[in-house]
Symmetry: C2
Subunit: 383 residues, 2 copies
């Protein structure tokens, strides 16, 4: 593409990525991990982008986290050589993961059930001679997946891993996803301590029984930002911090001014009933995620907050309704349709950056000039 | 691909399309339009698939509806020669649409505002010598977009269209999207009558002022199924009927046994807290659409209902929570983890087929044998 494209020439809806904000967000989390004395294994499921991953030093210096096989293939092919696929492994995914391991990448696979391990142990060695590291998933209170640290299955799984051909026990990992429902910073801090203490307890149980446990991995963006200390933890996994979103801002993990991702949209209608702007970013362009719906009313951002095309927040404007291709933005009193002419462009700061980004196949990158596209960056979707 | 692939060999999550149900759903709506004495202009935003469109006789015999420029390009290139782009036109989209018109396809563009028309009139004739038909959008009570039939702007717009180079007044269209919130079949029937009466009133207003109004277009799947009569209407637009979904079933537009689209998923965990199966279809594979959340509790299907891999409904099982790649399925009393082993496959019937399908790039088509993939069909996403 021409390097001089203006946002005004970009067809909408389209993702816009603010590179200075992205760089600040990345630097903040890298510094935070240094401060906490842990390595960072960034979760790349948010950006799913080579170009974004190349800006995060720890992704290549230490390793990265992914949520799909396609991400593993994509990032391994770009030289990320240590990858945690952090979802319990389904047997049908083993052949492609084995091919990733054959390229020389070190793969860590997630297990929390004897049957998962049995299927993995039966399958892996028939597919490759490469060794897969297995991380045991620990439940620190979210109750989505994982074993409690005192579950006798933990030691049974460790023994089975050590007995299996082609598998090695890499350590433990946990995710305090309940931080997204925590009450304020103190609540998030308590979840961070649950992550830490639970992962360390699991490590201790394994070590007491004579097993290695090199990796003690925790994390989410909110707990990373609020943890008091992470003694005993070796690495932290944060994902959404690179972009931020209005939900993270409501949780205090970032400021609204840090949100680096937005959806460029065009005003295509003025609906006088209800005094709504109609924009061409609906449920497909924004996702139907309503993460902020569970928050106090003043934090409910509908399907996203509006800014001008340059990125200046428009107080009181949010996408109240999202149809497939239509978004409805209620005008607050004091604003008028004349302020938002048909054909003019706005941006939407998303509720949940991971979900919104997944609706698009590239990023339009802006730099110090917030209306000039300096690059188009790739991303990968699907599985 | 091999034509003998089994669902058990398909990597999850993946879309499954039941061809016999699809064919029945298509035939039912085509018959319904004949019964109502109107043409059918199917909305292809649901399937976004060449192969699906080729099964709908009216798409090529009469014309089709699309919601993105990319759909217009994709279907025009496959020979659909009469297309309504049913979202108010943003000026940045005109160049690509003009190229579609240059291929010989007849394009109908949506207008409900003088500024939209001004931008269209200024732009179109500089781009192509092909004539675009303009349909005036009428608001029949949804208040999303469109003009009321007695709005003086209607006649002003008609005059401006007739005065513009390269534009022709094609007629009027309306969409009774409020049918999705209607109270039962009688409520939907009333919305269908609003669609009809409002569109016909707009036609009459145009004709009384001496304008042509060839197209009187209405529709949504629920109103199509429940309308008493459509006197004065020339065509109906239904979209989601091809697949159906659990929301349509709750509205009475189809039966659960008619739902042709599902997401194949693998059980990857047994979470004893909360007695949940963990499946590898989360918010990205299912979408975060919660259309059934507004219905009576017995119709709230979470993020979708579960069936066996063969498609047999599993009473009481639904995806209660959806994370990015994890879905949580609460086990009802009476069911046990042993019934759903780790590594086994299930299917999820979606809340909202349009949103769920958009998360995927192809369909795995099954026929009379519900576990044998007989074809892989394409679909297009993005804008």
């Amino acid at each position: 593409m021409s390097s001089a494209q203006q946002l005004s020439d970009v067809e909408t809806p389209a993702l816009v990525l603010d590179r200075p904000r992205l760089a600040r967000n990345v630097a903040r989390m890298e510094a935070r991990c240094r401060e906490l004395g842990v390595a960072h294994r960034p979760h790349l499921k948010t950006s799913k982008s080579l170009e974004v991953s190349r800006l995060i030093p720890s992704a290549r210096g230490h390793g990265a986290t992914v949520s799909t096989v396609r991400e593993a293939e994509y990032f391994a092919a770009d030289g990320i050589s240590d990858l945690l696929y952090a979802v319990s492994i389904a047997p049908g995914k083993l052949p492609r993961l084995a091919r990733v391991a054959e390229t020389g990448a070190r793969l860590h696979l997630a297990v929390d059930h004897p049957d998962t391990l049995r299927l993995l142990a039966e399958g892996w060695a028939t597919l490759t001679e490469a060794t897969a590291s297995v991380l045991l998933e620990i439940d620190c209170g979210e109750h989505r997946s994982g074993l409690e640290p005192d579950d006798p299955l933990l030691l049974q799984l460790a023994r089975s891993i050590e007995a299996a051909t082609g598998l090695a026990l890499g350590g433990v990992f946990t995710h305090g996803g309940q931080s997204y429902g925590a009450a304020g910073p103190a609540g998030v801090r308590a979840v961070a301590e649950s992550e830490r203490a639970t992962a360390v307890a699991a490590r201790d149980a394994l070590r007491s029984a004579g097993h290695d446990c090199g990796i003690v991995s925790v994390g989410s963006t909110p707990t990373a930002m609020h943890a008091e200390h992470l003694r005993g933890v070796t690495e932290l996994r944060a994902g959404v911090h690179v972009f931020g979103d209005v939900f993270q801002a409501a949780l205090g993990s970032c400021a609204l001014d840090d949100v680096a991702l937005s959806v460029l949209t065009t005003v295509v209608g003025h609906q006088r009933h209800g005094r709504c702007l109609v924009v061409d970013a609906g449920g497909l362009a924004l996702s139907k995620d309503r993460s902020t719906a569970g928050l106090a009313a003043e934090h409910d951002c509908g399907y996203g907050l509006l800014t001008t095309r340059e990125g200046r927040l428009l107080e009181g404007l949010r996408v109240a309704h999202a149809y497939q291709e239509h978004g409805m933005v209620e005008l607050p009193s004091g604003a008028s349709f004349a302020d938002f002419p048909i054909g003019s462009q706005l941006r939407v700061l998303p509720n949940h950056a991971c979900m919104t980004a997944a609706a698009h196949d590239c990023y339009h990158v802006v730099d110090d000039d917030p209306e000039r596209v300096v690059a188009v960056w790739s991303r990968i979707n699907g599985w």
